[in-house]
């Protein structure tokens, strides 16, 4: 089984062309699950789309145990536009090949949770969000998938291919990022990152859908301040 893990290093902040030396926590859960599901005949392949700075996520995935890493290059990828990102990733995945696609529920920057369903839509695959556990049933490639929501836990039987978006996964300690250890990027992994350009491909659309947007820093407290512990007790009683 070719298990794709969509990974991304979250961007540091707007107007700064850099990424944080880590994976979004949901992507880490997806990677950990892929590595746990993988048996000897399977491959776990980390895939991202974007500029060279995004190789950081792929190198982390390789060092954690992914078999291959692929970065899809397309000039239309923009952080906020999940529709275009999903289209580009789907174009790349058609070339890479897949049996199962795992992703984090949402990234630690734009946090829309739209990329996985967008990929599923473009590839005409079923998707399930809010996944907290995946195990094999032992029947062909069938999977037990647990989807968690506010007041229920739903156990699903999933026959791949499908897109599953994770919020939790096994604990996975990632090796230190290159920027932390000071070692050159090239020596961090024996496995090279495969670059996949879609510039020659005809995608269904390349025009970003997102309307003009503004970004404003949030610097002032918006919290409703409680008078004392009585107010906090009342609030917590409502949670139960």
């Amino acid at each position: 089984m070719r298990i794709i893990v969509l990974v991304k290093s979250p961007h540091a902040a707007p107007q700064r062309d850099e990424t944080l030396p880590s994976l979004s926590p949901g992507d880490r859960a997806a990677l950990a699950t892929a590595l746990q599901l993988r048996d000897e005949s399977d491959q776990a392949i980390a895939v991202t789309a974007g500029p060279e700075a995004d190789d950081q996520a792929l190198r982390l995935a390789l060092r954690a145990g992914a078999n291959h890493a692929v970065r899809v290059i397309d000039p239309t990828v923009r952080g906020v536009d999940q529709r275009t990102l999903g289209t580009v990733l789907a174009g790349g995945l058609r070339l890479v090949g897949f049996d199962l696609i795992l992703a984090g529920q949402s990234s630690a920057d734009w946090a829309s949770g739209g990329a996985g369903p967008a990929v599923a839509h473009m590839l005409r695959l079923p998707h399930v969000t809010g996944v907290v556990q995946i195990t094999r049933t032992g029947v062909d490639q069938e999977l037990h998938v647990r989807h968690q929501r506010e007041r229920m836990s739903i156990e699903l039987l999933v026959q791949p291919p499908a897109v599953l978006m994770m919020t939790r996964g096994p604990f996975l300690e990632l090796p230190a990022a290159e920027s932390d250890s000071g070692t050159p990027a090239e020596s961090s992994s024996e496995t090279p990152i495969e670059l996949l350009s879609l510039s020659e491909m005809t995608l269904p659309f390349r025009r970003p859908l997102v309307a003009q947007h503004q970004l404003r820093p949030l610097t002032r407290s918006t919290a409703r301040m409680l008078d004392g512990i009585d107010g906090l007790v009342d609030l917590l009683q409502r949670w139960r």
Binding site: P25, M152, I154
Partner: protein, 324 residues
Amino acid sequence: MANILIYIELSDNKATPASLFALNRGRDLATELGATLYALLPCATTPTYDDEDIIAVLSRHGADKVILVHHPDLGPPALFVTHGEALVDACHQFPPRLLIFPSSAEARDLAPRLAMALHADYIPHADLEHEGDEFWVTRQVFRRRYQLRQPLLAADHAMVISLCPMQEPQTLGDDEAEVAVVQATVKPSRQVRIRHIEHTVAGPVVGGGGGMSRTGDDDLQRLARVLGGSRVASTTVCDSGHAPAELCASLDGMLVDSDHYLALGISGSERHMAAVQPHTEVVAVNNDPLAPIFTVAQYGLVADATDTARELAGRLKRSEGGDR
């Protein structure tokens, strides 16, 4: 005239408060924009008619019309694999300029894919702001440090948003909404089948940070247990060896994916907030009124976190009549 559709989520055969809040906000918008407000309700059986039936409730909360998307397989819970095709069909019959979901796990599964099917923009966990003549859709991005603002309905395509409930829903009048029934076509997925549904309330996450004394660890544990939730720790606490790395909620650790997060003695660094999901309601307790956590939390209390954890654990345990 533009259509505004509000997706109605059911719990125990009643519309959830977040759905009714979305309907309230939809009413404001529809009145301002001269649009028709539809409540979009998938259902396995058509509702009965009496004073407290769901049609009456949706009418009282602002719906002009109720679209019943009916099929025996469309009972809750709704996932895109079970309900998506029927909802897409209904949206083709009543094309929305704006489709609003209540922010929830159900919305996170349905809304982004519906947006793709409708060629619509998708904005999750949003709020609506009215400035002058314009409506804006806003949401928090970059670990709750920035606000993303987009003009509502300025583009030539539809928008799908999920709306965070900000207050209790209000009844607005007694006018009876018209009802339209869409007999849906549902093809059960061959690839994804529901095997078992377990009704459980996922408890809140309780987090302890460097602002808590280590003598408070037991109280933290007890508090998480009394609330029926789980415990996480900040990077500072894990790095100093006072909590195992598996409990670390951070950009380099696990997600806080619960609906509620009680952050005790946590400063609110960007790396920590990277782990907190956009839909999670944060309540922060910190003795530093200038702690960054207060800029990203929904509720705050300036107090000693260790003392607060101890008192909370005791009082909540007493009010429950015993520890769990």
